[in-house]
Symmetry: C2
Subunit: 497 residues, 2 copies
């Protein structure tokens, strides 16, 4: 295969970049180990090590000779791969440079104390313990937006950090379109009562080993290269991490009941992992090796979770292995599994919510975040705003803070502008599905556990581009259009009505 990086300046950039890459590799391993293996008290030394490495990586990124090389490369005639390298690095340098060290220190101190306060507040269902910290975080977010700069509104600056090139207006438009269609749809689903709101399988208990065998069986059918280029482990919150193209690891969890959680989270993380595993190997060690944005990444995980994992064909495919491992499955048909995987029920908790109601949880958070940033809304007003919006959207009103504003850790971590990427991904997954259907009989492939054509389609259209193009350009390349919520609405209609 042809070398993708030919230009001498870009080659020089990549040689210098290699130590930044190596530090990133190490950081990822340290992070994975923290979640999966680390003994409790290891946290002290681990945190110090990670802090030092992150300063170090920053230093190398902002070294004048490195920055100058990237600047110089911007004016050169480059191929698309090289332009990708320069775009990604230029963006990283710009973001890195934006924040003064004092600000980063303040951010890190405030968020670590805010996280403790949030934990306390959640434990005692007492919002007042978190409230002053949330105000400080809102203030920090505003200042971050100012440092980063924006054209229309502060929220744009934060959003762009997670979803390059996407504006608040884009997201507002997306949610408007979605809400208008999805709200009546949800009401109709709930009224008609054909889709179950709960299922006896939710209560059935299992042993970890049983479901581990099922998950491994599924991953094998997917062709996940366990032991060769990947692993499946256990962590409190399932996640995917990559240490390069050749070592991509996912985790799942085993609660001991409601087995669809462990299956669907394994399938979800597989989707993330596949995106990383199917990168062009020539990009290795470069900044364009890897998924381009959180939204695109989430579209891949949601594709596998929702389109594949919640399909009737998938329920039929896994029914035998479920029966083999779970004695209670003798009483349930494949159709039971399918309806269990597709329960629709308004719930207070985002992470417990189903495919249809999920987006309303995100919409709510997006609107509140935007109000914090742009309209001067303070922490004290948020619980009421949350509850009102929840009632309006899902018809249920939280009776505790834990069921409302205190449920997510994101704000305590200082992460504002991140939530919309969950919906972007969810909507895109349906959009990719309808495009894929033009080329493939998706359901037939799922039914026969023939996942190669599906994987090849995703590789050709999306994965192989790594981070060459920013998300919007990638979409044009992959499917010739922009993000459009109609596909998701169509998918919900076809599945639930």
């Amino acid at each position: 295969m042809e070398e993708v990086f030919q230009n001498e300046t870009v080659k020089e950039i990549l040689t210098k970049y290699r130590r930044i890459w190596a530090i990133g590799h190490a950081q990822s391993v340290l992070g994975w180990d923290m979640e999966v293996n680390m003994p409790k008290e290891g946290i002290l030394e681990r945190s110090v090590a990670r802090g030092e490495l992150s300063v170090l990586s920053q230093e190398f990124l902002l070294k004048p000779e490195f920055v100058e090389l990237v600047e110089k490369a911007k004016d050169l005639e480059l191929n698309e791969y090289e332009r990708g390298v320069v775009r990604v690095l230029d963006r990283e340098i710009r973001i890195s440079k934006s924040f003064p060290p004092e600000f980063l220190r303040e951010m890190s101190e405030v968020t670590s104390q805010a996280t403790k306060a949030w934990e306390e507040a959640k434990k005692s269902d007492d919002f007042s313990k978190f409230e002053p910290w949330l105000d400080r975080i809102i203030d920090l977010a505003k200042r971050a937006a100012d440092y980063l700069g924006y054209e229309d509104e502060p929220y744009d600056a934060l959003l762009d950090m997670f979803e390059e090139g996407t504006t608040t207006k884009d997201v507002e438009r997306m949610f408007e379109g979605l809400e208008k269609e999805l709200k009546p749809l949800l009401d109709r689903i709930l009224e008609e009562g054909k889709v179950p709101q709960s299922h006896p399988l939710e209560k059935e208990r299992y042993e970890k080993d049983q479901m581990e065998r099922v998950n491994l069986w599924i991953l094998e059918k997917f062709g996940f290269p366990l032991g060769v280029r990947s692993r499946l482990d256990v962590s409190a919150h399932p996640f995917t991490t990559e240490f390069g193209i050749r070592d991509v690891r996912i985790t799942t969890r085993y609660e001991g009941y409601d087995f669809r959680r462990t299956i669907l989270s394994t399938v979800h993380e597989f989707g993330h992992a596949l995106y990383e595993l199917q990168q062009d190997e020539r990009f290795a060690f470069s900044p364009i090796a890897g998924g381009v944005s959180l939204g695109i990444h989430e579209s891949q995980s949601r594709f596998w979770e929702n389109i594949v994992g919640r399909s009737r064909e998938f329920a039929e495919l896994i029914h035998p292995v479920l029966r083999e491992n779970l004695p209670f499955m003798a009483n349930y048909t494949p159709e039971d599994v399918y309806s269990y995987f597709n329960v629709v029920r308004p719930d207070f908790i985002r992470t417990e919510s189903d495919v249809v109601t999920y987006n309303f949880h995100i919409l709510l958070r997006f609107r509140l975040e935007r109000m914090m940033l742009n309209e001067g809304v303070k922490a004290k007003d948020l619980p009421e705003l949350w509850n009102d919006e929840m009632e309006r959207l899902l018809g249920i009103r939280p009776k505790s803070y834990v069921d409302g504003i205190l449920q997510d850790i994101h704000w305590a971590h200082g992460t504002i502008g991140y939530f919309p990427t969950y919906s972007i991904g969810t909507l895109l997954s349906a959009q990719f599905y309808y495009h894929m259907k033009k080329d493939l009989n998706v359901e037939e492939h799922i039914a026969s556990a023939d996942f190669e054509p599906i994987k090849a389609w995703l590789r050709e259209r999306i994965h192989r581009y790594g981070s060459i193009y920013p998300p919007k350009e990638l979409l044009k390349k992959a499917i010739g259009e922009e993000l459009n919520p109609d596909y998701f609405v169509r998918w919900v209609k076809e599945r639930y009505l």
Copy 2:
């Protein structure tokens, strides 16, 4: 507790050192993960990352302003902790500076090719495949010795890298004393035939889970802080690693038969881990936090393996948990376990050898290494020399290269001068034991699973000093004398005659 580092220059050194420490922390995690978790193909990117980080760490260590600070500190009036910091760093800088980059590159290339050649040679029992590489490695070792410099003979330079301050003469004297006493002892043991040369328990098979439960039970009795500051995992070759004082991990292996191997290797690694876990916490992030040399480290692992793990009291202590987990144990008494753990049988393979014959394997390697370095012996002469010496020492003559010169990976890795530390540790473990006996009834404590006093003794005498003192000085501090092989001989006599 009082701060141990008071001097401003030393504090400045330690602040700068922190990123070197962080890179070391990351390297250790990357190394551990490689042995325990890494999917096969992850090796490519992992090797690149480790290579980059090792260059980086070297760069920081040799930065002129860092070296100057250390130089400056050598002339200051410092407390013993601070002097330790300066001694360790000065030594690291000196060793690092000794080798020109071209030499390090050559070393790394030759050893990685030599390792492949050694694997091939071992697989086909064909020494000729490894011979030319071994000659290159001998040549590299000589040049390394020249770069490092030495007073008496080249071997001194290499030995010092692993056992600071120990000379070839020291080791030769140790082995002379040992050989004179131990050889007739071994002959007598074998002639008398009271000590078994094999045992039916060697053949009994087990399941991994069974022995894992036993190992965890033992570690719990030892007070190993599993999940808090430590872990037990599985790897092809058992080892201990530390990511600081608060995260020290050991591994073991489960062959499925001959269960003393997994127990004794777990107990052995526990000894290494305890040395790291019992460091003075005030040393954290500094270069004196951690065991001082390979020999002292091995004395700790051997203490737990030989003195504790092979004692009659230990066999009695673990007999019930063995019975609980291994059905075949119904046919064996604690005395059976004891004699099984203390079989003495000349064997070709070092790693299979018993406590008594083990040191002859090391002696043989030490003598050959010394001949390579000082007497111009070439690779082609080594198999014959090996076999002759083996026959002289243990009365058995290898019929294949695999049973002789091709058995160890060390030389292929370019590691020459390392083997003697195994014997240094073994002899010291007995020496520490007799000193401990003056203060404690060691056997009674083992019998009652009361390991705290033993651990406290090791902590007070050895562990808490970290790397403040070089090994010989530490010995003076700990037991008021030098390494003396007589203790080990006495221990063998008491145990086997």
